[in-house]
């Protein structure tokens, strides 16, 4: 994490120095990002030094080893989060704005309920339909909020 932070800080400093200077560098748009870059670099350096001193390098190497990465990726929690995030990506980036909000919400809910085995198929379908209709109606007509 410390190394990532240091790399990010270098990127931040280079970007900041590349920003236009109007009067003096003190009121330039890049001044504050440059300060942030310096702060991140110091924080990153402290993290790296702390990790090296405490002997965490071995632990990091072990954490990023092929076997460990496979174990983490195949863990039930990881799989669950990846699949649930995938459903959200399809809903947010794929369906919203392309199909009607109510239909998109229904499809997202039923897919998620079925994957999580929240309840039976029939109940999942009923809850999905009722929730999608209710959310759409309440926000559009009761709160006068436009739907995406």
């Amino acid at each position: 994490m410390g190394i990532i932070l240091m790399l990010f800080s270098v990127y931040l400093a280079i970007s900041a120095l590349g920003m236009r200077v109007y009067n003096t560098f003190l009121d330039a748009p890049g001044f504050f990002p440059l300060i942030l870059g310096i702060i991140f670099f110091i924080f990153g350096l402290v993290m790296v030094i702390s990790a090296v001193r405490s002997g965490s390098v071995k632990a990091t190497k072990k954490a990023f080893s092929k076997n460990n990465l496979i174990t983490v990726l195949l863990a039930s929690q990881t799989k669950r989060v990846i699949i649930l995030s995938f459903f959200m990506v399809v809903y947010i980036y794929g369906l919203i704005g392309r199909v009607h909000f109510t239909l998109a919400t229904f499809l997202y809910l039923i897919a998620t309920f079925l994957y999580l085995k929240s309840t039976t198929l029939v109940k999942s379908a009923i809850i999905s339909i009722v929730s999608a209709l209710l959310i759409s109606a309440v926000f559009q007509y009761l709160f006068n909020i436009p739907l995406p």
């Binding site: 003190l26 748009p29 990002p33 632990a59 929730s131």
Partner: protein, 507 residues
Amino acid sequence: MFEAFAQQFTLFGSAAAQAFAYPQIFVTMIATIGGIVVGAIPGLTATMALALLINLTYSMQLSVALAFLLGVYVGAVMGGCYSAIMINIPGTPSAAATALDGFILAKQGHGGQAIGVGVIASFIGSIFSILILIFLTPFLYKIALKFGQWEYFLISVFGIMICGNLSTQSTPLKGWIVGFLGFFTAMIGLDAVYAYPRFTYGSYNLMGGISLIPALIGVFGISEILSVLQEDVPYSIESQLGRVLPDRAIWRDILKTSIRSGLIGCGIGAVPGAGEDIAAWVSYDVGKRRSKQGHLFGKGSYEGLASAETANNACVGGAMIPLLTLAIPGSPPAAMFLAAVWLHGIKPGPMLALESPEFLYLTAVTLFIATVAMLGFGLLLTKPMVGILKINRKILMPIIVPLTVIGAYAGNVNIFDIHMMFVFGILGYILRKLNYPMAPLVLGIILGPSADISFRQALMQGQGSLIPLLGRPVGLVLMLAIAWILIAGVRSNKRAVPASNSEGESV
């Protein structure tokens, strides 16, 4: 003197008339009940609820919006005690300390009285903090008026540093990193001085900057949903409640503790970004050390339960003090509240006393009504609430996702905001997994723009030199405070390294 007092009294009366009018009082009560239910359900936090509801208040009158949001806030912070006591899972992070004694009391068959103590302690804490809010804030306005650009920059950095220090369980460095990451997030978009695009990569959507509300919904909504649904842990409910109202002996036990915890909670609430959970833990720790029966803490002590519950609700009023005087929220839910009042054209800060002088009293009276409603409904709803705790989270949490989508979209009516909300949700989830706290990130996003402009303008005033700025007394105090936090943080970082070594801290 008398004239000033009479003027404040008139403002108070006018604010009270607004808060007690219909529909405000009705909205406060309904919102408080809603908040209690939200707080009781594990996974739904006060912060998440407020983030989702901010945009709903857009078309409301200011006093109605306040009633709605403060009702939910007060109710949700207290509501967390139901699940903490009955199922040993805190409904909100602020109720984590409550579970230590509450669940043991529930297993002993005293769940009803434990909840009763929780509700009454929350009431005492809230009332305490409202009184401090009313009497202390006008004096702080006067101090805040002496703040210049340099002091505003320093108070922003102080907020990030102290919040980073207090909100992390491992090293303060993690809190500071996410705090400054929040500052960076606030840099994205057109520069406020020259309208120069920073980190926009040619995207017109990014030129408008990262909208605050979608980012907050992502960090507290999406990441929370993923965190709750990743685990498949069923829980059992202690359904034997017993009587709800505490008996005289319990009253005697909790009274002194509640007063002390009210002060602690309010004080911690006034620290930028610290929040209800920290208030509860600190108060619990102090209570354990100061009480004659401290050895019983963690073994089913009403005193322990009261110290945690009084402090977390006292934090609500405390968090409003820096929010109203300096526009710096004292806790993550208060950050949501700040975003909501900005939406209504109110600009908290030292000028608030001149621009909207009755806003302080309107907030305080609305908080008072919500607190009384919380006491009444909290005690009345104890038995039905046990039924609500049985709601299947695998059904509830997915239904919240469309609500986050609408919440992110409604402010600017822009699909891009929904996309950013999801990005922040995933970022929040990853940071949580790596034990990075979320409160400093939110504070950083909120304080970033003013820190940037204040710093640059202060340096311009000093004609490029820091030396003229160093002699300012308030600034000097703030610099010393920042240096002290930094030194304390570095020391605790050194202590935390051996511990993190065993956890496999990554390079």
